[in-house]
């Protein structure tokens, strides 16, 4: 597209920045070193030699995993906000879309916490800072989803996604889970549409990634709901309809009753077939979730092969998120002296 020429006027700086950030992502060698750490202090010392630099320098020892988690998240948020603050339409809108996922998570976290009688002041710090919105604190007022919508969500960007989950039922665990999935479904479909409208390399890269995300959710919902009393038509309503599975695969998934059937359905898709191979729950085997994560990492890395699109921003954030999960996983394993499963991180580069 000749319009690509104009891409750098608005977004060139940020794209360069994000590519620079990406080259700071921990390499395999770093993980090899991290895994050898005996204590969290060692971990800190090694992270100092990477792009993380002195992010833990001002923390008094002894370190805890939660401090590392907070600091890593702080750094992540800082980077994101720098990108967001320097962006202009439509990139700013695109970045906002990424934060909606955190909003959904936060809402679900708050409601679940409230159900378990936790106080709101205790829950708020646990929310992801990227998904914060002003009315969040008052979420405890809502006891039904209709209430939730009318009082709180109506002013947030999530409002349109919520239309499908308004009901007068009390909020309970299952309802919340359904709500989360419905929200996600609407969110992914909307994001997908937005990316399609943007066109160009953005839509080519992002639609691929979002389609994968949609299909992953469909598989996961099916697998997780196998033993649960969830009516099948209810279940099919939760599938995001923008992936490669739509429509045939989703129809079949809706009817699936056991794991084998899910696997059979995946067989007929070249992308998903390898993911279901060599999967097990024994130690040493990879879970299906890890397989999906690995696939996601590869796809996100591939997104960096394209220029003049917003895909790199999404991919970078996803990769960074994965890296944070990896570090926390390793830190947990180190802290708990539970080294057997320490290698279960997902290498990125």
């Amino acid at each position: 597209m000749f319009l690509d020429v104009l891409f750098n006027i608005d977004n060139g700086y940020l794209e360069g920045l994000v590519r620079g950030f990406k080259s700071g992502i921990l390499k395999n060698q770093d993980y090899v070193n991290l895994v050898q750490c005996e204590t969290l202090e060692d971990l800190k010392l090694h992270l100092q030699t990477t792009d993380y630099g002195n992010f833990l320098a001002n923390e008094p020892s002894p370190l805890t995993v939660s401090v590392i988690d907070d600091k890593i998240r702080e750094k992540y948020v800082l980077e994101f906000q720098h990108l967001r603050n320097h962006s202009v339409e439509p990139l700013s809108k695109f970045l906002d879309y990424i934060t909606y996922a955190y909003m959904i998570d936060n809402i679900v976290l708050l409601i679940t916490g409230h159900l378990h009688q936790r106080s709101i002041q205790e829950l708020l710090p646990k929310c992801h800072p990227l998904g914060m919105f002003e009315q969040m604190g008052a979420i405890t007022v809502a006891d039904t989803s209709a209430n939730l919508y009318n009082a709180i969500l109506i002013d947030t960007p999530l409002a349109p996604y919520f239309i499908d989950c308004i009901s007068e039922h009390d909020l309970d665990e299952l309802n919340i889970e359904i709500m989360r999935n419905t929200l996600y479904k609407a969110y992914i479909e909307d994001f997908y549409k937005f990316c399609q409208e943007l066109g160009g390399p953005t839509s080519e890269v992002m639609c691929e990634l979002l389609a994968f995300e949609a299909d992953r959710r469909a598989f996961m919902i099916t697998i997780n709901s196998l033993g649960v009393e969830l009516p099948k038509d209810e279940r099919s309503k939760l599938y995001p309809r923008c992936g490669k599975l739509y429509p045939d695969g989703l129809n079949q998934l809706a009817k699936a009753e056991e794991y084998e059937q899910v696997r059979m359905i995946a067989e007929s898709y070249a992308e998903y077939k390898p993911l279901f191979e060599n999967v097990g729950t024994n130690p040493g085997d990879k879970t299906i979730e890890d397989k999906f994560f690995e696939q996601e990492v590869t796809m996100n890395l591939n997104a960096f092969m394209r220029q003049f699109g917003f895909g790199v921003f999404y991919s970078f954030l996803k990769l960074k998120e994965q890296e944070n999960r990896n570090i926390i996983w390793i830190a947990e394993c180190v802290a708990q002296k539970h080294r057997a499963r320490i290698d279960n991180y997902i290498p990125i580069m």
Partner: protein, 863 residues
């Protein structure tokens, strides 16, 4: 000078430290700052090294110090100053570490306690303040409520006579951040479906947030509602919006009473708060006394342990082995430092310093002072010189400002630049620590001596060109006379054509403009008025730039001879230096000779003007074996010119194949002979023929590697920890193809380079022309407006016009032109001059020095 001409003679040393003495020895070496340690365990992770615990403790102390520093910065109090350490801060002994640690621990703990106290008090204080505001604002709210209720009451009374008891509304009063008010209101409306009545009033003064110490604006609100259910909902909302709710009595008298109580408590709290702040201040003040010293000591300690992490451990753990690069001249000082370190640590066994043999290229170390470092930077920016190669920096000291000045030749502009340079040089000590963060200033300040010299040289060339702000000065009296007869009037004739030949004018009188005696110094000032000024100066400057250029290139070639001789590379002298010199001499130096002959021979007589040959054409014709003298004998510069030129060109061209083929062939023959000898040796049963062959090959034919390292028998050779790295740097095998290709590239580069570089020196003329023209334009277009008008208005106009003229002079002529002349001078040095002899393939000597480490820690941005 010796060290500036060639880098220091370096040697690889091995030092055996006694375990106990290692620390203080390294500390002494750090103070000395002339030893570069090598990392002997590059494969070991940062956290698996021996002294990682000590490093970590140092980091922890540093963190505490940073915490103290940030607390001091937070207070922003003039009384608390960071005192620069008075005495020299020595690296603390290892046993003092615990002492320091506990001191800092105690300080941090105290400070944290005071802080938490202060925070609690501040929070309390804030709450009381908020309550006070509520109580004052509430009065108005309640008055309104009463009014409303009064209204309702009447309605109800009218409606229902039995119910006289008025409807009592519940209420909540609190304080909320002002920015949250709108959404708070909206949320209340939505949740309670409009059944809540909210009144707000802004608090005019700002309140301090106890956590962040930021001043925030807040708003008092009061909520009226009915019923318990609504109350719980409203409370939840308040909770969610981080609004604090305070009990507020309903009746006015109670409120007044409470208000009084709050006031007295505020007063009390204020005194307590002041006390705790004072305590904090005195704590910080004490800390401020020592903070810088502590920082210095902790950083030194950390640096020492970092260095010790690079050492090897002897098998029996008794001693540490270090490897380092050091200048040979400094070995005695290093030994002394080691002795002192051993003595300080109280150990009885001396540390042992051994020199080691290595084939690795040592780092390049130049001993610099503040004057030479600026020029060395110019050279280093191109490439650090290879070990013991001739360093162009000492020559650059003169040639760089000179070439700059040739392009920047204007005495007026040079004077301004000199004054600026002089200002920076004289005020050096005061200016050193000013504007440390200003990058542009740092660049100028770093090059202050260069600027000074550039200015001085510009004055010189400016006087030569006779240019002061584009005007000429007539000091000695012009040697030209334009109007001999009375008919010449300077007032009327503003332009004229200077002609050195006598001309016959309309009155048939022969006029001789040129007196025959040249102007004593520089360009005759009369030229400034002549219309053929440009033609004259162009010819002059063009020829001079070619002469200067060829001189500099010739000089560079001579330096390459010194390099070849120093490294003992006779092959290069014979097959590189000699053909190069011949080529340059026979073509380009010959061009210079022709220039001089032309100047001397064609003095300006009428017939000589006709005859004078065009030297450029002559040079081109040379390659076609032609000469202008062939057609017209009067054009010959000297008798027999055509023949001489033919001989010169033939010899010069023959140099090309000599340089192209000579060296590779010689190297090949040498290699062949050696392998034959090796063959014979192995046939006759000698040991290890390959090694012999390799060794000889390397010592004779290897290029660029200096093997003059003195051979002392190192004791460390038998030790199992002797560096393994050396073995991996074995001599590479002989590769004829590679040598041939390299030589081919080298040859092409040189011969084509000679032509293009000579042309490239013409930039001296071009830039000088541009500079002169620009300053002349500036003068005629701007300043002359003021000078040209009559006396009274001229005074005002000149005053007005001077400012743009001055601004353009400084902005365009000094800064922009100066920058461009600087860049061109830089290019002439890097490409045209240094390509003749300079390899620049070395690496910098980075000694372990406390001074550098501390400076780096003070300003981390400056790398």
């Amino acid at each position: 000078m010796g060290s500036l001409f060639r880098g220091e003679d370096m040697t690889l040393c091995q030092i055996y430290f006694q375990s106990e003495a290692a620390y203080s020895c390294v500390a002494q070496l750090g103070e000395l700052g002339i030893v570069q340690f090598r990392d002997l365990n590059p494969t070991v992770n940062a956290f698996q090294r021996k002294f990682v615990n000590e490093v970590r403790r140092c980091e922890e102390m540093e963190r505490k110090l940073r915490f103290l520093e940030s607390e001091i910065a937070k207070d922003n109090d003039k009384d608390i100053v960071l005192v620069e350490p008075q005495e020299f801060c020595e690296a603390p002994k290892p046993k003092e570490m615990i002492e320091l640690e506990t001191a800092l621990e105690q300080l941090e703990h105290d400070l944290q306690e005071v802080n938490s106290n202060k925070d609690a008090l501040k929070k309390n204080y804030l709450e009381l303040q908020e309550l006070r505001h509520i109580l004052t604002k509430a009065t108005t709210f309640f008055e309104e409520q009463d009014r409303i209720q009064g209204g309702e009451q009447t309605v109800i009374q009218m409606d229902n006579q039995e119910r006289i008891q008025p409807l009592r509304l519940g209420f909540l009063a609190g304080v909320i951040d002002r920015e949250r008010v709108p959404s708070f209101e909206l949320m209340l409306w939505r949740i309670c479906r409009g059944n809540v009545f909210l009144r707000t009033a802004e608090i005019e003064e700002t309140l301090e947030d106890p956590k962040t110490n930021i001043q925030v604006y807040k708003t008092v609100f009061i909520l009226f509602f009915q019923g318990e259910q609504l109350k719980s909902k409203v409370k939840k909302i308040c909770d969610g919006f981080k609004a604090t709710i305070y009990p507020c009595p309903e009746t006015a008298s109670e409120r007044r009473e409470m208000g009084l109580g709050v006031m007295t408590r505020l007063e009390e709290l204020k005194t307590v708060l002041d006390q705790s702040l004072n305590l904090r201040k005195s704590l910080l003040k004490n800390a401020g006394q020592n903070l810088k010293m502590w920082f210095c000591r902790v950083r030194k300690m950390k640096a020492i342990y970092h260095t010790m992490n690079m050492f090897n451990l002897e098998v029996n753990q008794k001693c540490l082995i270090a490897e380092c690069w050091a200048p040979v001249n400094e070995l005695t000082r290093i030994k002394l430092a080691l002795d002192k370190g051993t003595e300080l640590s109280g150990s009885h066994i001396q540390s042992i310093l051994n020199r080691m043999e290595t084939k690795e290229q040592p780092p390049t170390h130049h001993r610099l002072n503040k004057f030479s470092s600026g020029f060395q930077n110019i050279v280093d920016a191109y490439g650090i010189s290879s070990y013991r190669e001739i360093n162009p920096a000492p020559f650059t000291v003169i040639t760089f400002p000179f070439l700059f000045a040739v392009m920047f030749g204007d005495a007026g502009h040079g004077l301004i630049m000199t004054l600026f340079g002089l200002f920076m040089v004289l005020r050096e000590t005061q200016l050193k620590n000013k504007f440390k963060t200003n990058e542009v200033w740092q660049i100028f300040f770093g090059g202050r001596y260069i600027i000074l010299l550039m200015g001085v040289f510009s004055i010189y060339t400016g006087v030569m060109y006779n240019d002061v702000f584009s005007k000429s000065m007539n000091i000695f009296g012009s040697s030209w006379k334009v109007g001999v007869g009375n008919d010449f009037d300077f007032e009327k004739v503003t332009v004229f054509d200077l002609n050195p030949n006598p001309v016959v004018n309309h009155t048939r009188n022969e006029i001789k403009m040129y007196s025959g005696n040249p102007y004593p110094f520089g360009v005759d000032p009369i030229w400034v008025m002549s219309i053929n000024k440009i033609a004259f100066t162009n010819s002059l400057k063009m020829k001079f730039s070619v002469i200067i250029g060829i001189m500099q290139m010739m000089f560079g070639l001579c330096l390459s001879l010194l390099n070849h001789l120093f490294f003992g590379k006779m092959t290069s002298v014979l097959f590189e230096f000699i053909p190069q010199v011949i080529f340059l001499l026979f073509i380009f130096v010959y061009l210079c000779v022709m220039i001089f002959i032309k100047w001397i021979k064609f003095v300006g007589s009428p017939d000589s003007t006709q005859c004078a040959p065009n030297l450029l054409i002559e040079l081109i014709n040379m390659f076609f074996f032609k000469s202008a003298a062939d057609d017209d004998p009067c054009k010959a510069l000297y008798p027999g010119q055509a023949t001489v030129q033919k001989i010169l060109i033939v010899i010069a061209v023959l140099c090309v194949p000599v340089m192209l083929l000579g060296k590779p062939i010689v190297l090949y023959l040498k290699h062949k002979r050696k392998s034959q000898i090796g063959q014979r040796l192995s046939d006759s049963g000698h040991t290890n023929p390959l090694a012999v062959g390799n060794e000889e090959n390397s010592s004779d034919s290897a290029e660029g590697v200096d093997l003059k390292i003195l051979k002392e028998t190192p004791i460390g050779k038998g030790s199992p920890n002797a560096s393994n790295d050396d073995l991996s740097h074995d001599e590479e095998p002989f590769d004829m193809g590679e040598i041939a290709v390299e030589q081919c590239i080298h040859t092409i580069e040189y011969f084509l380079g000679c032509i293009s570089h000579t042309a490239s020196y013409l930039r001296l003329w071009a830039l000088s022309l541009a500079h002169a023209e620009l300053s002349e334009v500036l003068w005629t277009m701007i300043l002359r407006i003021g000078l040209g008008s009559g006396s009274t208005p001229g005074f005002v106009i000149l005053w007005l016009v001077f400012y743009p003229w001055a601004a353009f002079t400084v902005g365009v002529l000094l800064l922009m032109e100066g920058l461009s002349a600087f860049l061109h001078a830089l290019r002439l040095h890097w490409v045209e001059f240094q390509s003749k002899f300079y390899k620049g393939e070395g690496y910098q000597f980075m000694p372990f020095s406390f001074q550098q480490i501390l400076e780096l820690a003070e300003n981390p941005d400056k790398i």
